[in-house]
Amino acid sequence: MGIVHFTLDGKAVFAEADDDQPLLYLLRDELGLNNPHFGCGLAQCGACTVHLDGAPLRSCVVPASIAEGKSITTIRGLGTPEHPHPVQQAWADEQVPQCGYCVNGWIMTAAALLRENPKASDAELRAGLAGLKCRCGTHLSILRAIKRAQARMA
């Protein structure tokens, strides 16, 4: 058990975690965050995605200690209703949600993908998002939203 110090959505925090405690459980249970979500605990769905120093990370399978001295961004830090990230704004414009439980993974992954490759083609978007799960079947709305965000960011 040890204390992990890191930056969470732009603010310095620390919390105590078991040595084997995944980052997801630190964020949710010790720091009270409600996003990201537990979907599988196996890094197979992406619902738990956060950014670690800007890169998408599936927080359900990495120990909390990975965050030591680093910067973690969650969907709440990505943007707010007052200052939305273009991907979040596009999600709203395209009215993407069905249940919404997976939205965290798609938005966090897409935001990182567009930073790396702002002009990603349809095929590159699909390849870059492969493996994320949506059970309600919003895939086409998701692609429309990301393309809208691309246009906005161009």
Partner: protein, 766 residues
């Protein structure tokens, strides 16, 4: 090792950490918990107008909806209906839903009835409220009601805008105390009759517009609490322990070893009900993993046939119940005189709900009352089941729906609620239960597997004399479609309650004008007669995709047998104008070009084969036709549904954009189930436990486009949407693959391995 307590660390983190923790640990649950501690009000009485809506002191309106928005955006659609009927602005109407203390039991989310039947009592109640308010205004203003008009919640004298009184002034914050005539139905068909006449659809201003949904901001900015996010003060975290193998019961549980390792963990065991409970969630997860149980095999339980042997098993299994809901003409006589018989069998696999997250629930059970927060799409049923499980009166149990990780029928959500309830009762504290991925995928109720047999008798000219169709499968209600009886839940079954399987299946919903028809179903015995991960129940459009996978391929096989184009064949045998209209609309929109024979191409000569297929069906008054255009890659067996065209007639459309997205979701779910989904299991173990072993549609396999044509010919009624679409997707896909390859795939799912094998087998024969 730190000597600081966890709480001390958080407090030492300063205002910053505290503010984060406090902000998100004070979800509505806390105030709800406080409310739960006081006496519950009487249950809403559907025969009172006040049970359906209220005008608040500021003139805004609350409507009480006994169903929920599970993600389709139906919340705004209901608000549109109420706002139009009352003549108030849309943003002045809020919808209260899924709370058993505040909403009549309209059956929760069920059978695509959210608008079709679910909006009816609200529309009627809103019309009645408007009538009463105009009457009151007439008295107040001293002007006959016929001279009054309503706009934005203000009743004014026509032509004299200054003579006016608002809804807020007339009744804001007070009750109507007015009766409505409840039809005494509970569930989907609950309705009320009123003196007022709802508006003609030509008078709608808000209904029919694609207005924005109300759940987007919370979901996109991470500010909305899901069921998994609720934290109730003092709550404990639990994980349920299920038998790892079929028909196994608990022998001994090594509690001592576990508590030596985790002093804060409690083990709750009662018969086969086993759970670990801890103050911290991560501790509960580890304890569940580390708990040692010696399991004993119940030798009375037969071995499972395995997924590869399941359909052979279904063919031979004892039939518990048979029904012939459709009999027309003399089918047997037609077969005796037939010049030709076209027959085939089709197989649909066992499928999982596999919701995006495993179920979660929080329960707080006191001596004389209980509160449960659940993601179940039928919170009133959870309330009823909990009352029975706990021995409490129904009105002492308060169930509150909170959006969960998806729900498409009877998933695992209600089981989690019952587990949490029993644990809270035993421990005297609020308990949160959440599953791990394997709990969700392996143990959620399954969509039933079946074998479909189609036989058609043709005369010498190729006319269809008779169609004989049999659907034989595991029951769609091996456990009920809701949680209202503890015998249908894992908690009740683990605690030793006898099972209560109800044999039921279904037949095609079609309207082909063949002279004679017999549509029958047979439900076979369940795979296991105790506590089972392979229990079967309702999964999106219960037995619809299953049955029409057979029946709409059978129609295509008939068209092929008589050398007719599949669209032309359907048009020839359909008569109802609505049926004809959707088939024509789908064909027109996708640019369907008739061809008499599907091209039979030699697989392997072309890298990618293309084709298109159509399927048509109805569901509870809604008619839908789907055309799928596929690309098949013989070398890999990959099938890509590249373009999908849907023509859909559900009558009055309340919110077109919401409807299109609902249809789109059903197309995706249908493609996923047809292409990828099959519960894998062997003689005693479920092998589909996660996304690797139970794959679903990936974004790389999503179509290029789904094009939806909305028709409206139901004369003012809305007949329901969502499930009507999914039922025709599997056969449309199969028919397209036949068009592309000349190979008829009669067993789902069409995984690359299955498709490759089927194409190679055809090549060898050729």
């Amino acid at each position: 090792m730190s000597t600081l307590s966890r709480r001390a660390v958080l407090q030492a983190g300063g205002a910053l950490v505290i503010s984060i923790a406090v902000a998100s640990t004070l979800p509505p649950a806390v105030t709800d918990a406080e409310a739960a501690a006081s006496a519950l009000p009487p249950l809403p009485d559907p025969s009172q107008l006040d049970a359906w809506l209220a005008v608040l002191p500021d003139g805004s309106v609350q409507a009480f909806y006994g169903k929920m928005d599970m993600g389709h955006g139906i919340e705004v659609a209901i608000a549109q209906i109420v706002a139009d009927e009352l003549d108030v602005d849309l943003d002045r109407v809020s919808i209260v839903m899924g709370d058993t203390a505040r909403t009549p039991n309209q059956g929760g989310a069920s059978g695509s009835t959210g608008i079709a039947t679910g909006a009816k009592p609200l529309r009627n109640a809103a019309a009645e409220a408007r009538r009463l308010l105009v009457e009151a205004a007439s008295r107040e203003l001293g002007v006959p009601a016929t001279r009054l008009a309503v706009s934005q919640g203000v009743v004014s004298v026509s032509g004299e805008q200054a003579r006016a009184v608002s809804y807020a002034a007339l009744i804001g914050g007070r009750k109507f105390n007015a009766p409505v005539e409840w039809n005494k139905a509970v569930g989907n068909f609950m309705d009320v009759k009123v003196t007022a006449k709802p508006k003609a659809r030509s008078a709608y201003r808000i209904v029919g517009q694609s207005l924005p949904r109300r759940d987007v901001e919370g979901k996109v900015f991470g500010t909305r609490d899901f069921i998994t996010d609720l934290r109730v003060p003092g709550m404990l975290h639990a994980r349920m322990i299920r038998p790892p193998k079929a028909g196994h019961v608990v022998g001994s549980v090594d509690v001592a070893a576990l508590t030596a390792k985790y002093p804060q963990v409690q083990v709750v065991r009662e018969k086969d009900f086993v759970a670990v409970v801890a103050p911290r969630e991560w501790t509960a997860v580890k304890a569940a993993r580390d708990l040692k149980i010696s399991w004993m095999r119940d030798t009375a339980q037969p071995a499972w046939p395995g997924h590869d042997g399941l359909h052979a098993w279904i063919r031979k299994a004892p039939v518990i119940k048979r029904d012939e809901p459709l009999k027309k003409g003399d089918v047997d006589a037609a077969f005796r005189t037939a010049a030709r018989i076209v027959e085939a069998e089709y197989e649909w696999p066992l499928q999982s709900h596999a919701c995006i997250g495993p179920a979660c629930a929080v329960a707080d059970v006191r001596a004389d009352r209980a509160t449960v927060w659940t993601g179940s799409q039928k919170p009133h049923s959870v309330r009823d089941g909990m009352a029975k499980l706990l021995g409490l009166p129904v009105d002492a149990v308060h169930a509150i729906w909170v959006m969960g990780p998806g729900s498409y029928g009877r998933n695992d959500a209600g089981d989690a609620a019952m587990d949490a309830a029993w644990l809270s009762k035993r421990l005297g504290k609020p308990v949160r239960v959440q599953g791990m991925r394997h709990d969700g995928t392996a143990w959620d109720p399954k969509g039933p597997a079946c074998v479909l047999r189609s036989r058609a008798a043709l005369d010498a000219q190729g006319n269809v004399l008779a169609w004989d169709f049999l659907a034989r499968g595991l029951s769609r209600t091996d456990v009920s479609f809701n949680e209202a009886d503890p015998r249908d839940t894992l908690a009740g079954q683990a605690l030793g309650l006898a099972l209560s399987p109800a044999p039921n299946f279904g037949i095609p919903s079609e309207s082909y004008g063949f002279a004679s028809k017999r549509h029958a179903w047979e439900a076979v015995a369940p795979l296991q007669t105790r506590y089972s991960p392979l229990r079967t129940s309702h999964l999106r459009d219960p037995v619809g995709p299953e049955v029409h996978f057979g029946s709409e391929q059978a129609i295509d096989e008939l068209a092929h047998a008589v050398g007719q184009d599949p669209v032309a064949f359907r048009l020839k045998h359909l008569a109802d104008p609505r049926d004809l209209a959707v088939v024509k609309a789908a064909a027109d929109r996708c640019g369907w070009a008739p061809r008499m024979k599907s091209p039979v191409r030699a697989a392997g000569k072309s890298a990618v084969l293309t084709g298109r297929g159509i399927a048509f069906a109805s569901r509870a008054g809604t008619v839908v036709a789907v055309v799928v255009e596929v690309e098949v890659t013989p070398a890999t067996g990959r099938v890509w549904a590249k373009r999908v065209t849907v023509a859909h007639d559900c009558g009055l459309v309340v919110n077109p954009r919401g409807l299109v997205q609902t249809i789109e979701g059903n197309v995706m779910h249908g493609l996923s189930r047809t292409l990828f989904e099959e519960v894998q299991f062997d003689a005693d173990t479920v092998r589909s436990v996660d996304w690797a072993s139970y794959p679903i549609l990936d974004i790389q396999d999503a179509p290029e486009s789904v094009d939806v044509v909305l028709l409206d010919s139901a004369q003012g009624e809305s007949t329901g949407a969502g499930e009507p679409t999914i039922r025709v997707v599997p056969a449309a896909l199969a028919n397209a693959i036949f068009d592309a390859t000349g190979v008829r795939l009669r067993r789902a799912p069409f995984t690359p391995a299955h498709v490759k094998a089927a194409l190679q087998s055809r090549t060898r024969k050729a």
